[in-house]
Amino acid sequence: MGTSLGFHIVFACIGMTMPWLMATAQWYYLRTRDPVYRQLAQAWAKGVAVFFAVGAVSGTVLSLELGLLWPKFMVHAGPIIGLPFSWEGTAFFLEAIALGLFLYGWKRLPERVHFASGVAVGVCGVASGILVVAANAWMNSPAGFRWQDGVALDVDPTAAMFNDAWLSQALHMTLAAFVSTSFAAAGLHALRLLARPDLAFHRHGLRIALTFGAVCALLQPLSGDFSAKDVARRQPAKLAAMEAHYHTERDASLVLGGIPDDQTQQVRYALKIPYALSLLAHGDPHAEVTGLDRIPLDERPPTLVCHLAFQLMVGSGTWLALLGCLFLYLRWRRPAALDARSFLRVVALSMPLGFLAVEAGWVVTEVGRQPWIIYGVMKTRDAVSPMPGLVYPLVGSLLVYAILIVVVWLLMVRMVRKIESAQPEPGHG
C-alpha cells in the first residue's frame, strides 16, 4: 500500500499541475499567436496524457488495494469517508472527459471551447486531489462518527469529510503538487537548454513553469506553519516524532538535523534554536510542547524516520522557495540572467527536490500516525488483511512500478528528442 501510494502521489501531483501549465501555454498562444507556445501546449498536453493514463490506472489500483490490504479498515471507514471518494470519482470522470476533448480536439473544437476544456482538466485535477486528501485527513483527524465497542455509530459523512485536518492538509498538498511538478518541469527544460541554448521552446517552458513553482513555493511555508500548528494541537505524538522532541517542556527549542536516538532520548549532531519550537507549534515562545515522554511506549511513531523525513521535506522546500525568490527577482530586474548557464544548472539540479519533499512529507504524515491507521481509533495491525504471504503482491507491485517508472522516463527522453528535432535550427534555415 505504501509503495502504491508513494508511486501514485507523484503521478497525481503531475496530473494536478501539468494541465495548468498546458492551459497557460495555450492561453499565451491564443493571445500572442506565437507558434512556439502552441508547440509547448501540445508537448505538455502529451505529457499530461501519459501521466493521466498512469495516474488513472494507479488510482484504480489504489481504490481496490484499500480493500485488498486493509479489509477491516474499509468495513468501518468506507461508509464514513465514502463521500469524498464518490465526489473524487465525479471529478475524475469530468477530468477524463475534458482531457479527451482537449487532447483530440485541437482541430475539431472551437478555440475557446478547447481552451476551456484544458482549464477544466486542471480544475478537476485539483478538485480530485483535494478530495482524496480530505479522506486521508480523516485518518489523521477522525470525525463524523461515534466509536463504540468496535462499531461506528451515528455516521455523518459530511462531518467526516470536513474534518479538522482537511483544510490544512489539502492546502499543503495542493501547493506541494504545484511546487514539485513545476520545478521538475522547469528542471527538465533547464537541462535541455544547457544542451540547446537556442530553443525558444525550452525558454518559454522554463519561464512558465518557474513562475508557477516560485509563487507556490513562497506560499508553502505559510501553509506549512498552519499545518504544524494544527498537528501540534491534534496529534502531539506526530509533532514530537517529527521534531525529535523527547521531553515535554516549556520554552522548547527547535531541533535542526541530527540523529535522534530512542535509547538515550537524545538527538546527536543537531543544531538547536531556543524557543523556536514553542513559537512555531503554538505561536508563543514559552508554550509547553508535548514530548514523546507523554505518549505511551506502544503508541509512539518511529522517531528516526519521521524526524529525518521532516528535515528532508523542510530542507528541500526552503531551498526551492529561495530559488523561487531568485527567479522572481531576476525576472523582474535582470531577465538576461535567466539564460545564464549557472542559473540553468542550479534549476536543473533542483529538479527532483520537489518530489523528494512530497515523498518525505507523505512519510511524515503516514509514519507519524503509526501505530494508528485511524488516529486514536484503530491500529494498523488490526486492519491488515488476514491473507498470508501479503509480501508477495507487495514486492510484485513494487516491481511493476519500478518498470513503469523506467519506461515513462525513457518515453519522456524520446518525446523530448522528437520535439527538439522538429525545431528549426537557427543559422541553418
Binding site: 468506507g78 469530468l94 459523512p157
Partner: protein, 332 residues
C-alpha cells in the same frame, strides 16, 4: 434506499461491461487483425477509454461506500484474481498510451503491443472468474483450512474458468462491433463485421457451456436462478433480444447493437441478483444478505445525493464528448 443503490451499482456494472468491455475487446482481437489496423484501434479508443474506465471506479466506490462488508469479504477472499485484474488494467492502460505517444523504435512498440494485448485479456478473464466465484458460493472464512482452500480453491474451478472465457468472448465481440462502427463511420465497408458475428456466436456458445458446467457442478445459485420468476423473465428477455442483435448486424446499426447487447448484459446481472435476493453472496455455510452488508442510512443518503449531482454534472459533458467523437459527422 439500499435497493436503489444496488440498482445504480448494476447500472454502472452494465455500462462498464458495454463501454469498457468493448475497449478491452479491441485489445483481445488485435492480434487477429494485423498491424495495419493499429491506427484504427488507436483512433477508436483514445478519446474515450479513460472515461469508459471510470465506470469501474464507480463500481468500486459504490461497493466500498455502500456495501462495505461485501467489498471487504470479496477483497479478502478473492485477493489473487483481483490483483490479476488490476495487473491487466495497469498493463493495458499504460501500454496503450505509451504506444501512442512514444516515438519508439519498432522493437519497443511491439513490446507495448503485446503488453496491451495481454492486459486486455487478463482483466476480463479474471473479472469473469470473480463474478463466477461470487455466484458459486464456495468462499470460505474458516482459517484452519489453509491457504489454498481459502484463497485459491474457491475460484480455481472449471465453472469459474469457463465463465472467465465467456467474459473474454463477450468483450471481444463487443470490441469487434466497436471497430465495425468506426470503420462504417469513415470508410463505408465493414470488414470487421464478419469477425464480430463469429465472436457473437462464440460468446453465445460459451454462455451455454457455462450454464451447463454450472448445472453439472451444482452451483446453488443456478438452481435458484432457474426457479425464480424474475430471473427466468430476464433470461427470456435476453433471448428475445437476440434477433434484434442479429438484425443490427445485418443492417450495420452499431449503436442499436451496443444498446441491445447492453440490455442483454443487464438482464443477466439483474437475473443473477434476483435469483437469490436478498442474498448477495454465498459463502461456505453462511450467506451475506443486502441487510448484512449495507452501510448506515446517512451514508447511503449522501452517496445517492452525490451520484445524482455527479450525474447532472457528468451527463452533458459525456454526451458532448461522444457527440464530438463517436457520432457520424460530415467530415471536414
Amino acid at each position: 434506499m439500499a435497493e436503489m443503490l444496488l440498482c445504480t451499482l448494476l447500472l454502472a456494472a452494465t455500462l462498464y461491461t458495454v463501454l469498457g468491455g468493448a475497449d478491452f475487446g479491441v485489445g483481445i482481437i488485435e492480434p487477429l487483425l494485423g498491424s495495419e489496423h493499429e491506427e484504427d484501434i488507436q483512433s477508436a479508443l483514445s478519446p474515450v477509454w479513460e472515461a469508459n474506465h471510470v465506470w469501474l471506479v464507480l463500481v468500486v466506490v459504490i461497493s466500498f461506500v455502500g456495501f462495505p462488508a461485501l467489498f471487504s469479504t470479496v477483497c479478502t477472499y478473492l485477493h489473487i484474481p483481483l490483483v490479476l485484474v488490476l495487473l491487466g488494467i495497469v498493463a493495458r492502460g499504460t501500454a496503450f498510451t505509451f504506444r501512442h505517444y512514444d516515438p519508439a523504435p519498432p522493437a519497443v512498440r511491439s513490446w507495448y503491443s503485446w503488453w496491451f494485448r495481454a492486459g486486455s485479456l487478463l482483466t476480463p478473464l479474471f473479472l469473469g472468474i470473480i463474478v463466477a466465484a461470487c455466484v458459486q458460493g464456495q468462499l470460505d472464512d474458516d482459517v484452519s483450512r489453509g491457504f489454498y482452500a481459502l484463497y485459491v480453491a474457491p475460484w480455481n474451478t472449471p465453472f469459474c474458468w469457463l465463465c472467465g472465457l465467456f467474459v473474454c468472448a463477450l468483450f471481444a465481440f463487443q470490441g469487434a462491433a466497436l471497430l465495425s462502427a468506426e470503420q462504417a463511420r469513415r470508410k463505408g465497408p465493414l470488414p470487421f463485421l464478419r469477425l464480430s458475428r463469429r465472436l457473437h456466436l462464440l460468446a453465445m456458445a460459451l454462455g451455454g457451456v457455462v450454464l451447463l458446467a454450472g448445472y453439472r457442478s451444482d452451483v446453488p445459485w443456478l438452481h435458484a436462478f432457474l426457479r425464480h420468476p424474475v430471473s427466468l423473465a430476464c433470461v427470456v428477455l435476453a433471448t428475445l433480444l437476440t434477433p434484434l442483435v442479429a438484425r443490427s448486424f445485418q443492417r450495420g446499426w452499431v449503436w442499436s447493437l451496443r444498446i441491445t447487447v447492453g440490455a442483454q448484459v443487464s438482464c443477466v446481472l439483474v437475473g443473477l441478483i434476483a435469483a437469490d435476493y436478498p442474498v448477495l453472496l454465498h459463502m461456505q455455510g453462511r450467506v451475506l444478505t443486502l441487510a448484512d452488508v449495507v452501510a448506515p442510512p446517512a451514508t447511503l443518503r449522501s452517496l445517492l445525493v452525490t451520484l445524482v449531482l455527479g450525474l447532472i454534472l457528468i451527463a452533458p459533458a459525456l454526451v458532448y464528448l461522444l457527440r464530438v467523437y463517436k457520432i457520424p459527422s460530415k467530415a471536414p
